[in-house]
């Protein structure tokens, strides 16, 4: 039997690591409630804030869309960035390291596997949110919308891989850093309001987080009239920036994973548990 090629190992690893995520969710379905009904209630809170201050109806749409995208941000933080910490604690990380595969493949598998539940959550929030609150959307350009969404995810998961390389070195800091990144990113990326409200410079800085540009672009494509006064930059510029971020983060993630693995090996941190 011939030895498997590097690509064969890569793709088999992706499928192998995605499997526990997909199967795990089916075997214990309580997440269906926690990840759909409860986030929808949370989004509704922000909708009612805007209603209390008599915001235009399009702002409801902004919030629903932002709420849906939180699913992906939380998935990146909790199921990717700090995942290696959990794997280290259970002893799986060392088994991944000694296998002739790459950590990028492991992470990609986690991302794909986790995306099933994440997408269910996002779709539930969007669909129910738009229906319940009767939000009207006018889609300007479907291919652009799809392109923005897919590139946002690609860049976002690239960022998640980069984070996971940093967290490889850390113990419980990893979990707390993920926690720390939750609300501040909700703020600066404009999950619940147009990011332009932060000012151009702040919004530009926040654009390093792919969801900032992705949300702004998607809002422009779904609510063109209202976003005319609140948009950050043109959709085409945002598309281009997202493409650059995707490539950049994936490349950085690969370098960082390799560097962090070497550093962890030198400092003897790859197998430390209970930090």
């Amino acid at each position: 039997m011939s030895s498997p090629t590097r690509w064969e190992i890569f793709w088999r690893t992706v499928m192998g690591r995605a499997y526990p995520r997909v199967v795990g969710m089916q075997r214990e379905r309580s997440w269906l409630f926690f990840d759909t009904v409860l986030p929808l209630l949370q989004v509704s809170a922000f909708v009612f804030i805007y209603r209390a201050i008599q915001a235009p109806p399009e702002f409801t749409g902004f919030v629903v869309l932002g709420g849906a995208m939180t699913a992906y941000w939380l998935n990146v933080l909790w199921s990717m960035a700090s995942q290696f910490y959990w794997e280290k604690e259970t002893g799986n990380l060392e088994l991944y390291i000694i296998a002739p595969t790459s950590l990028m493949a492991i992470l990609l598998g986690m991302a794909i596997g986790g995306m099933v539940a994440t997408t269910v959550r996002a779709l539930a929030v969007i669909t129910l949110g738009l229906l319940i609150f009767r939000v009207e959307v006018s889609i300007v350009n479907v291919p652009q919308l799809l392109g923005v969404f897919l590139l946002t995810l690609l860049a976002l998961y690239g960022l998640g891989m980069l984070f996971s390389s940093l967290f490889l070195l850390y113990g419980r800091q990893a979990q707390h850093l993920s926690n720390l990144l939750q609300e501040p990113v909700f703020l600066v990326s404009g999950f619940y309001f147009p990011v332009r409200a932060l000012g151009f410079i702040a919004a530009l800085g926040a654009s390093v987080i792919p969801i900032t540009l992705g949300l702004d672009a998607m809002r422009q494509l779904l609510f063109p009239t209202m976003m005319a006064q609140f948009r950050f930059v043109d959709v085409r510029i945002e598309l281009g920036a997202l493409a650059v971020l995707s490539i950049g983060f994936l490349w950085l993630a690969k370098r960082a994973l390799s560097y962090m693995e070497d550093l962890s090996r030198r400092e003897g941190r790859l197998t430390i548990r209970g930090q």
Partner: protein, 343 residues
């Protein structure tokens, strides 16, 4: 490095720097491995025997690319572990004792299949190997059981299978029978011996602090203590070194301060003691049998009572005692030694 060698280390060292408590400030060094030289040819079942904290796991971690050495070099399958860890991983696998790895919600079969995918093994081959190996270790009827329902022994059997599934050239077994019952340990040891015995191109590095395990399985054994290799030879040759002496095991009622009692007696090369269920067990390596009566007199004089006396063939533990001055299972216990070198 010759490719007939599965593993080689040259002056391999690993030093940890640990921070001292705040009041004392600074750092202290912990030398886990100290200039270790080893050569393990292909096809050998090599044992690394030593007490807890000797450096066995540190050595395995370096050879399996989980830890970088701070000095010296190491090669596995002809590849430098520090320079090219990714290439090393194509040739190895590892099983550790007391593992809790795997995903609780997946079945035994699913967990094992997942790990084969990290090695690029095609589905059909993976499933066939899983079936065969589960059958051999007696887990076939648990293939569809979720692993969080498994007992510790069953989980270790599953981890065992995981190590062999990928058919590695070099397999690292780090205290693989730790915490397992007698029957399970026996089954797994039989499996290891069989696997290596039938495959001339396979090499196993086994670490253990059970000397009978090393004696039963290993072609050669290295005795490691405090990061140093004290001796490396076949179990038989190692024990032959002791045949210049006579080994006695005495069980006596608890006696205070055995070191003071026996350390000045003529003919006592080495001894160790351990408290067991209210008794004191004394292991002596004597020049000859004439050294025994003064020992018995000393016990009587200290109001101790002799429960049993046994003359036995030297074991690897005796070899260890003769080199280190205490038993494999003893923690910080002191050992008696004669003044100066063994007489």
């Amino acid at each position: 490095m010759s490719t007939e060698l599965a593993m080689k280390t040259e002056q391999l060292s690993r030093v940890y720097k640990a921070k001292k408590r705040k009041a004392r400030g600074g750092e202290r060094e912990i030398i886990a491995l100290d200039r270790v030289d080893l050569e393990i040819p292909t096809g050998e079942l090599f044992g690394l025997l030593g007490p807890n904290g000797a450096g066995k796991t540190t050595l395995i971690k370096i050879l399996t690319t989980l830890l970088a050495p701070t000095g010296g070099r190491a090669w596995v399958a002809g590849v430098d572990v520090a320079q090219n860890p990714r290439e090393v991983r194509r040739h190895i696998n590892m099983v550790s004792g007391g593992e809790s790895s795997g995903y609780g919600l997946l079945t035994v079969e699913e967990n094992l299949w997942m790990f084969t995918q990290f090695y690029g093994i095609d589905g059909e081959t993976a499933r066939r190997r899983i079936r065969e190996l589960l059958e051999i270790v007696g887990l076939a009827d648990r293939a569809k059981t979720k692993i969080f329902h498994l007992s510790t022994g069953m989980r270790q059997k599953m981890n065992f299978v995981r190590g062999f599934l990928t058919n590695p050239e070099i397999l690292f077994l780090d205290e693989p029978t730790l915490g397992l019952d007698v029957q399970t340990s026996h089954t797994l040891r039989g499996f290891i011996k069989d696997w290596v015995g039938k495959r001339a191109d396979k090499t196993v590095l086994l670490t253990t602090h059970y000397m009978y395990e090393a004696e039963e399985l290993c072609d050669r054994v290295a005795i490691i203590h405090d990061g140093h290799i004290l001796a490396c030879d076949t179990p038989g040759n190692l024990k032959k070194h002791l045949q210049r002496g006579v080994v006695f095991r005495l069980r006596v009622t608890a006696i205070a301060n055995p070191e003071r009692l026996f350390q000045h007696l003529r003919g006592v090369q080495r001894f160790s003691h351990v408290e067991v269920n209210g008794y004191t067990e004394l292991d002596f390596i004597l020049e000859d049998e004439n050294a025994l009566p003064p020992i018995l007199t000393a016990i009587q004089d200290s109001h101790g009572e002799l429960i049993s006396l046994e003359k036995r063939d030297p074991t690897l533990e005796d070899v260890f005692i003769s080199m280190v001055g205490r038993g494999l299972g003893e923690g910080g216990g002191s050992a008696g030694t004669t003044e100066g070198a063994p007489r």
